[in-house]
């Protein structure tokens, strides 16, 4: 059974989410604070984490940052706030996806499933893809830069593989959304923030990327 950790300070929302997620076949656990959630995740890691942004004490952004430091567990933000600022900040902190309350439980479940699917990315035919100093091993789930392993999250890795499979070709934000996140239509900021995070890790000068380049109005491309 897939485990979900719900970090949400509102008791009623947490209880309702746990009930509904269990109904959907998840092993759901709750935490009322970020500290409690982080402790629970360290002791007994869940397969997915749902985080509210407005938490007492440590806030949701910091919680995501700390979760991400230990782990590449898929993190979904669930928040009543939908300001661009909050969404981008949460994604930059390391979240894989976000949903705005109220979200239908079927929709939430579909998103979690999509995240799990890409966490077990289908292996491409080639074992190692090389882009200059970058080496991507889809099967091993590894990225190396100058021979040194680069720590990437599953979503970032999936995004990198998708771009590497279509090396030298432009993929639009919508194509990436549908291939990496499984969305038919969705928020393109998701792609932009993840590309930004990936650049921080794989480019020697993230402000002037050599490999992962932007084509204005078209999308992104990975080149040698």
């Amino acid at each position: 059974m897939t485990g979900v950790l719900v970090i949400e300070d509102d008791d009623r929302i947490r209880l309702a989410l746990l009930l509904a997620l269990e109904d959907e076949g998840y092993a759901a656990r709750g935490a009322a604070t970020a500290e409690e959630g982080l402790r629970a995740q360290r002791q007994d890691p869940a397969d997915n984490v749902l985080v509210d942004l407005m938490l007492p004490g440590l806030d949701g952004f910091e919680c995501i940052r700390q979760l991400r430091r230990d782990d590449d567990v898929p993190i979904v933000v669930i928040s009543a706030r939908d300001d661009t600022h909050d969404i981008v900040a949460a994604l930059e902190a390391g979240a894989d996806d976000y949903v705005v309350k109220p979200v239908a439980i079927k929709e939430l479940s579909a998103r979690l499933r999509a995240l799990r699917r890409r966490a077990r990315a289908a292996a491409p035919a080639v074992s190692v893809l090389t882009f200059g100093e970058l080496e991507i091993s889809p099967e091993a789930g590894e990225v190396r830069r100058d021979g040194q392993p680069v720590p990437v999250t599953r979503t970032e890795f999936r995004l990198l593989c998708e771009l590497a499979e279509h090396a030298g070709r432009v993929l639009s934000r919508q194509q990436l959304l549908s291939r990496v996140w499984g969305y038919h239509t969705g928020d393109e900021r998701l792609v932009d923030v993840h590309v930004g995070r990936l650049r921080q890790k794989i480019e020697s000068d993230p402000a002037n990327p050599r490999h992962l380049v932007t084509l204005r109005g078209l999308g992104y491309k990975l080149q040698r």
Binding site: D10, R12, I13, L15, A16, L17, L19, A20, D23, I78, A80, R81, D82, V100, K101, P102, V103, A104, I105, K106, Q174, H184, T185, E188, G217, L218
Partner: protein
């Protein structure tokens, strides 16, 4: 009759004022000039008459004087005509052409009494000056001086003064027109700003002025706009805040309702019915809140980027379990438009939902271009929208009559209002008309979508 505008009235006032002023000045100067010229002429005529009378007196002193010869000897030029009254008889240089009759009796009486006299008369309609000088007992010398030249001079002067008065009045009107344009300029600025504000641009303000007479107008106008903008912003924020506050409890309701819905078959009939109602209404509530939030923020400008609208339209059809073959692209229409993806997606989805709910399902989604404007049309086979309701359907919380609705009132009542707002955010509009062959045709224009 239409009342004259402020500017026309001020201009007319200036013109009339200038005309009055110029006319009175002209009258006064005409009168002064006329008097001084006449006085001058009178003095000259008197002097000449005295001189001539002296000559006549000398001539008459001779023995058996030839009166006609004496008169002929006078050097009178062409302007003066001498007359002599002697022994109850008139003597002239030429034949009497009624000249003697023109000499007024009063003047003759004065002269006979030994007094010189001057009088203006008209002879044959011509102005003339008649001077009478007593020469001796029962002898009067008269001289007629023509004033025709003077009259002509005065006529020319009058003409010139009239012309000047007219020109001055015209100049007054011009000054009035110019001055009002200048002084009405602040009002024009106010009107421009008000129009901009009415069009929804709450950033329009009057430029601060240094003119002490206008400071109050501009500050109070700007203050009014500030207050108005603040109130609208407050209302908007209130709607948004309420909607946001509703989100958290709705999340609980939504999750709990889905648990109930999942267990419907284990519940008794009445409880299952109630659980179904709760789940359905929570879903509708959720839609309403989302639409309200969307409406609260949809007055922001469109965030344009290249979007494959045909793909978006097909996706919208699939998301509503409709065949994507409904989407038809007019020949020669590029499908990549520069539009706000999220907004156009909502336009499509809301129009499809509307067609499903009230129009018996959509029969076509058409994409076309008109110049640079992208046009989206959604056709249905429903009863259509009556002409009287065609504007109102885009208002908030207006639903088609329940009789038309397949599933009465399951929408938020905001779908078409959002369509209109999203179109407006692109500088375009949404409208509904008849579809040829029956049904309604919703049409959304998105200007500058294509280059």
């Amino acid at each position: 009759m239409r009342r004259l505008g402020l500017r026309a009235r001020v201009t007319a006032g200036f013109a009339v004022g200038a005309l009055l002023l110029a006319a009175s000045m002209a009258l006064v100067s005409y009168e002064l000039t006329r008097r001084s010229l006449l006085d001058e002429r009178e003095r000259t005529a008197l002097r000449a008459a005295y001189f001539d009378a002296a000559v006549v007196r000398t001539g008459l002193d001779a023995e058996a004087p030839d009166v006609a010869e004496v008169l002929r000897s006078l050097d009178t030029g062409g302007n003066r005509r001498p007359l002599l009254y002697r022994d109850d008889q008139w003597y002239l240089r030429t034949a009497d052409d009624g000249l003697t009759a023109a000499v007024p009796a009063e003047l003759q009486r004065l002269v006979r009494g030994g007094e010189p006299a001057v009088q203006r008369v008209r002879i044959d309609g011509q102005p003339a000056l008649l001077v009478g000088v007593p020469v001796a007992e029962a002898v009067g010398y008269y001289e007629v001086t023509s004033l025709r030249e003077l009259e002509e001079t005065l006529q020319v002067l009058a003409l010139a003064l009239t012309a000047v008065a007219i020109v001055v009045a015209g100049s007054g009107a011009a000054v009035g027109w110019y001055a009002t344009r200048h002084s009405l300029r602040p009002l024009t600025a106010v009107a421009d700003a008000a129009e901009k504000i009415a069009a929804g641009s709450f950033t329009a303000r009057l430029a601060p002025t240094t003119d002490p007479d206008l400071t109050r107008l501009s500050t109070s106008f700007n203050h009014m706009v500030d207050q108005l903008a603040r109130r609208i912003e407050r209302d908007r924020r209130f709607a948004a805040d309420v909607s946001h506050e509703l989100r958290s409890p709705l999340q609980t309701l939504s999750a709990a309702a889905s648990v109930l819905a999942n267990r419907r078959e284990h519940l008794d009939e009445r409880t299952a019915l109630a659980a179904g109602l709760v789940a359905d209404e929570v879903a509708r509530f959720q839609q309403l809140v989302n639409d309200l939030i969307e409406l609260a923020r949809s007055d922001r400008p469109a965030d344009r980027a290249p979007v494959d609208v045909a793909a978006l339209a097909r996706e919208a059809c699939r998301s509503r379990s409709l065949p994507d073959a409904l989407v038809r692209v007019a020949p020669g229409t590029a499908t990549t438009w520069s539009v706000d993806r999220r907004r156009v997606e909502q336009i499509l989805v809301n129009l499809l939902d509307n067609a499903v709910r009230y129009g018996g399902g959509p029969v076509a989604v058409r994409l076309a271009r008109q110049g640079g404007t992208g046009v989206v049309e959604v056709d249905d086979e429903g009863p259509g929208v009556p002409v009287a309701e065609r504007e109102a359907v885009f208002d908030r919380f207006v639903r088609a009559r329940a009789a038309h609705a397949r599933a009465g009132g399951d929408g938020s009542g905001l779908g078409l209002a959002l369509v209109a707002q999203h179109a407006a955010a692109h500088g375009g509009r949404a409208e509904v008309g008849d579809r040829p062959g029956g049904g309604a045709r919703f049409r959304v224009e998105l200007p500058e979508a294509l280059r």
